[in-house]
């Protein structure tokens, strides 16, 4: 095998990414009217001083309602693909650091080996001051399958585990969840090295 190339280093997204990473319509993953329960996720991005982080970019990637990713590597042919669901979304935080994503509740997806992962949404965070993006996951606090999720189970500190849980807020429809991303300090979000 030929010698490997060194991957290109990451550089910060900077304060002006709205120019090129536009597409505000990508904050709604349900525009194509996919199958599944509609949910809304609202949150704030917060820095190490507890201050709002405006102009952060949050990207999400998730499976469909049946728990299948719209990607050729997902060969779970026993689950349907949903031609109306792409699975990718993007939203920029506003001046108060707030973001809002409209999507559907993903189904559970396989983990490694025979493990099953609880429903979750994969998240990347970009911002000025981040030389490379951060990864985390959004799980749902009211999901019974969390108890056997490999990642959640591997986190011993319950307060750290709790940072990965979106919490139901109110009884409206579609169901609203709150999920803050704390970049540093007390209640710092559990970020993932993938």
């Amino acid at each position: 095998m030929a010698e490997k190339l060194i991957p290109t280093p990451s550089q910060t997204v900077g304060p002006f990414f709205h120019l090129g990473m536009a597409h505000p319509e990508w904050a709604d993953l349900t525009a194509g009217d996919p199958a599944g329960e509609r949910i809304v996720i609202e949150g704030r991005v917060i820095d190490g001083d507890g201050a709002a982080v405006p102009a952060a970019c949050v990207e999400v990637w998730q499976a469909n309602a049946a728990g299948r990713y719209n990607h050729p590597d997902d060969t779970q042919t026993d689950k349907p693909l949903d031609p109306k669901f792409h699975g990718f979304g993007r939203v920029a935080s506003d001046a108060e650091g707030r973001f809002r994503i409209v999507t559907i509740r993903p189904g559970p997806v396989p983990g490694r080996g025979n493990a099953l992962q609880a429903p979750h949404i994969n998240v990347t965070l970009f911002a000025r001051g981040l030389l490379k993006h951060l990864h985390t996951r959004i799980y749902f606090a009211d999901e019974p399958a969390n108890a056997t999720d490999p990642l959640l189970s591997s986190i011993e500190d319950a307060s750290v585990r709790a940072t990965l849980l979106a919490r139901p807020a109110g009884d409206g429809s579609p169901k609203l969840y709150r999920f803050d991303i704390v970049m540093q300090g007390e209640n710092e979000t559990a970020f993932l090295d993938i």
Binding site: A22, A63, F126
Partner: protein
């Protein structure tokens, strides 16, 4: 279902750290707790697919988006998106943005005292071709001041965003120009310790790519993470 083949992890010194105090904004925006290492599952090895113009039409000519031509040195930026095993990454979304020739972004937050160019927005996107290739026509961006330290200037650069085969291959980076004296003073560029990796951020002047009486050509390849080699891989 068998576990998906994982992607290689980059050598730490070939990517920037989260905390890099010379770039002041990292001090309050870098996590203090160690990141949780996660073995790759389908959640990490899959990622958005940009077939069927899902992301909208390509926009590869940044010089013809307005009434007249923008001011500045006309340039062609072209290259390929590859993985670290040298394989092309076709069909992935590449987005790009930049300031104008005077060093000002077409963005309300940019208040640098340099002129806006009514003929230049500075944004484009393309889905890579079957060999991972892409090509943009634009103008050379200017250098501009920033408030990281007194009298600090960013070297001329173009921002690139690219996805690749899976969630783990996501990359946002900046392309710089060869011979720029500001590179030696720029903490964002310097934040990657490994020189060979850092030099990947600098495009090459390519006379073959230049078009006579028209535009200078710069070649820039983007290299994304690739799958780990397995014993069953063809040599």
């Amino acid at each position: 279902m068998t576990s998906p083949a994982p992607f290689s992890r980059p050598r730490p010194d070939t990517q920037p750290p989260y905390l890099y105090p010379d770039y002041a904004s990292t001090v309050k925006r870098s996590p203090k707790r160690p990141l949780l290492r996660l073995d790759h599952t389908l959640s990490e090895t899959t990622g958005p697919v940009f077939a069927d113009r899902w992301a909208g039409p390509d926009a590869t000519d940044l010089t013809s988006q307005h009434k007249s031509a923008p001011l500045g040195e006309r340039i062609i930026v072209a290259g390929r998106v590859l993985d670290e095993n040298g394989r092309p990454v076709p069909g992935t979304l590449l987005e790009l943005w930049q300031c104008n020739a005077a060093g000002r972004y077409h963005h309300p937050v940019d208040q640098h005292d340099a002129p806006l160019d009514p003929n230049f927005t500075g944004a484009g996107q393309v889905v890579t071709g079957t060999d991972g290739e892409y090509r943009f026509l634009t103008i050379k961006p200017g250098a501009y001041p920033w408030r990281n330290t007194p009298n600090a200037w960013r070297p001329a650069h173009i921002h690139f965003s690219v996805f690749g085969a899976g969630f783990v291959t996501r990359l946002v980076t900046q392309m710089y120009f060869p011979g720029d004296p500001l590179l030696a003073h720029d903490p964002i560029f310097q934040s990657t310790a490994d020189r060979e990796a850092r030099d990947r951020l600098i495009c090459d002047y390519d006379p073959e790519l230049s078009e006579a009486e028209w535009a200078l050509g710069y070649h820039f390849d983007l290299v994304l993470r690739g799958r780990e080699a397995t014993p069953t891989d063809p040599v």
